[in-house]
């Protein structure tokens, strides 16, 4: 296997909590990201799922260098980019671009589409000489499926889906190798979501892009991702290929998360394995000791209180081959099938075998 294009090790981001105006005093920290490690291979899509406040968006900001980590390493092609500055940082940023969630607020309403998509060239003029930029922008509009004639229009003249295409075109302008997309379709209507997802997949093939795709919608993440990481309270609970996570989850949080997703199939009502979690996610300013999920976990025992589970293949599965043997940060990891395999009437492909435990 090729060397990963991006490697994240023990990434930590704490936001200080202060008290007082004149004499500021740090009274604690929001531990938004608290020890996250993963690798991204060239041409791969890594999905990161989790609920609000789990730190997935902070990971995105750290990877594209919009925020500096408190500690940890982000290696792009082997080079730690967290300590770079000046010219070297600029060069790296060119290759790691971001697509934002909200197509309504991430585009400047007073700039034309041409200026928005062309703006990256102002910062990185070496990519496109001045005389060539309009042509490039038109090309990009065409690539994302918008009429190149629209180059002089303003964002408000477009629908949500079209605006997200503009955001994607801007992300592509510098021909990056990695695109970090933070909830790129969650603000869109169902019928438009599919268009944008198909576009992102086509662009990935066409330009050989690597994606980090962050979303709370587990169905969309499964659709687009090769591998998936599940985050809870600033840490990864489980990571693996899409089949490992969705069909053979071993972490209780992943299992609960999967079981809570409503399936668009009324016949799944009866034979689904539902795990309804009690309570809310604890505050990241004051996370539980040991395993962070233990306050909501039905399996929690004393060990979970004192010992932080590492993200590694659990003891029970070590030495075994097969889809259950993937990294899972649980002391008592067990395989449990949650998602009925196959799917319902409108699906195609898979056989409709169903097993419930």
């Amino acid at each position: 296997m090729a060397e990963p294009i991006l490697e994240v090790r023990d990434l930590v981001k704490h936001y200080p909590l202060t008290r007082g105006i004149l004499f500021k005093k740090q009274i604690g920290a929001v531990r938004a990201v608290d020890g996250v490690s993963f690798a991204l291979d060239p041409g791969e899509t890594l999905g990161i799922v989790g609920e609000s406040g789990c730190g997935k968006s902070t990971v995105a900001k750290l990877v594209v260098n919009l925020e500096r980590p408190t500690s940890g390493v982000i290696r792009y092609k082997g080079e730690d980019i967290t300590r770079l500055s000046g010219r070297a940082l600029k060069a790296v940023r060119r290759n790691i671009q971001m697509v934002f969630q909200d197509p309504y607020t991430s585009l400047n309403p007073r700039m034309t589409v041409g200026d928005i998509i062309g703006e990256p060239y102002e910062i990185h003029p070496e990519v496109a000489p001045k005389g060539d930029r309009r042509r490039r922008v038109r090309e990009l509009l065409d690539v994302v499926g918008l009429n190149p004639e629209y180059i002089n229009r303003y964002p408000h003249q477009f629908s949500g889906g079209q605006r997200q295409r503009i955001g994607i075109a801007r992300g592509l302008a510098l021909r990056p190798e990695i695109i970090v997309a933070d909830e790129p379709v969650s603000a869109l209507d169902v019928s438009v979501q599919a268009q944008v997802i198909n576009l992102m997949e086509r662009l990935q093939d066409e330009f050989g892009l690597s994606y980090i795709f962050i979303a709370h919608d587990l169905s969309i993440v499964r659709h687009i991702s090769d591998r998936v990481g599940v985050m809870y309270l600033g840490r990864l609970a489980e990571i693996g290929s899409d089949a490992e996570i969705y069909e053979h989850p071993t972490h209780p949080y992943t299992q609960a998360l999967l079981s809570a997703v409503p399936l668009p199939d009324p016949t799944a009502r009866e034979h689904r394995d539902r795990i309804i979690l009690t309570g809310d996610v604890p505050s990241p300013a004051n996370p539980p000791s040991g395993c962070r999920f233990r306050t909501r976990c039905w399996k929690a025992r004393e060990r979970c209180e004192v010992e932080v589970p590492e993200l590694a293949v659990p003891e029970a599965f070590r030495g075994l081959r097969g889809p259950a043997a993937h990294p899972s940060a649980c002391h008592f990891a067990e395989e449990r099938q949650i998602v009925p395999a196959g799917g319902g009437g409108n699906g195609e492909g898979r056989d409709s075998r169903r097993e419930t435990q």
Partner: protein, 330 residues
């Protein structure tokens, strides 16, 4: 029938012209039944609900036709004073965004209690006791201690429970829930939907669930009405519509969602965009996006056809498509 909406029409007068948000919507809900109204933004699903509740902003909105029969009475003919007495006591609404629907400067106890003071003439003390009881009922932990907290002191899921408590306070016979779980995380969404379904069963209420989420609908609804550009394009019992949709729009929606239980190939995408309500296409509003559109679709507005999967089998299904048979079997 608990609630029957007949041929409802709502317009909005804007600077750019008249937006026809609801163009002749009819649906009915019985006691104990859950009707899901499914649609994308601009389909008119929320406007219809606001007209039913009597909370539509008028102007710019205007109800230009139709009836809203609640337990046989046409609400649209009642005086505002009479409607206010029905609202909250006999029908109640749950909104998507609990934080902006609750008053930030009043304690949740005061807001819950107000229902009993205004509608039931209770004393403050009695109302407070009722508020605690309600918070218990929607399973807010330590209700007695938290009754004097303010909305911002609760998490999103807990706030939505308070909204549900408020809607249920006077044990109405109809609840309208407009995207009640859209702002919530999935694990919390499951808790709240379960709670809502359980209380609906217990109190034998009718529930209108307005949503864009095909998963939520499949989980809880008995019947579905699919809306597009201010009209109902298909209505059917939930099992039938997922198994064999009879309108190309419904079919497109079902095909276009990624599935948790399947690794996808390319997603089916409905081409184009939902129409601008100021310029709804003539004929069937879906025709510019429809793979099956023929000449007739571009000129004639299709009525709601009775759909029978097998000849003679009446199932209470309707589809506003000239080619529903081809869609159903295709």
């Amino acid at each position: 029938m608990l609630l029957e909406v007949r041929d409802l029409q709502v317009e909005f007068h804007t600077r750019d012209g008249v937006a026809r948000a609801v163009n002749g919507v009819s649906y009915a809900v019985d006691a104990g039944e859950t009707l899901a109204v499914l649609g994308e933004s601009g389909s008119g699903k929320s406007v219809t609900a606001q007209a039913v509740m009597g909370i539509l902003d008028m102007p710019p909105g205007r109800i230009t036709g139709g009836q809203v029969l609640f337990q046989g009475r046409d609400l649209l003919r009642l005086k505002e004073e009479q409607r206010r007495r029905i609202r909250g006591a006999e029908m109640a609404m749950i909104f998507q965004d609990a934080l902006s629907s609750l008053n930030p400067v009043l304690t949740v106890g005061a807001q819950l209690g107000e229902m009993f003071i205004v509608h039931r003439g209770m004393s403050r003390k009695q109302a407070r006791a009722k508020a605690v009881e309600l918070m218990d009922r929607v399973r807010i932990p330590a209700a007695r201690e938290r009754v004097d907290d303010y909305p911002h002191q609760f998490s999103g899921g807990m706030r939505q429970r308070i909204m549900i408590a408020m809607a249920l306070a006077l044990e109405p016979s109809l609840i309208i829930a407009d995207e009640p779980t859209t702002a919530l995380d999935v694990t919390v969404q499951a808790q709240v939907m379960d709670l809502l379904a359980e209380l609906r069963r217990e109190l034998n209420m009718g529930l209108i669930l307005i949503t864009h989420d095909l998963g939520v609908v499949a989980d809880v609804a008995d019947r579905i009405a699919v809306m597009y550009a201010g009209r109902i394009v298909e209505t059917a019992p939930v099992y039938e519509i997922y198994r064999a949709p009879a309108h190309p729009y419904t079919r497109g929606l079902l095909r276009s969602i990624p599935r948790l239980d399947q690794k996808g190939r390319e997603l089916y995408a409905i081409k184009g965009l939902p129409p601008n309500l100021l310029r709804i296409p003539p004929g069937c509003a879906f025709n510019p996006r429809c793979p099956m559109a023929q000449d007739v679709c571009r000129t004639e507005v299709p009525p709601l056809f009775e759909v029978a999967e097998a000849p003679g089998a009446a199932e209470g299904r309707r589809s506003a498509c000239y080619f529903w048979e081809e869609t159903l079997h295709g």
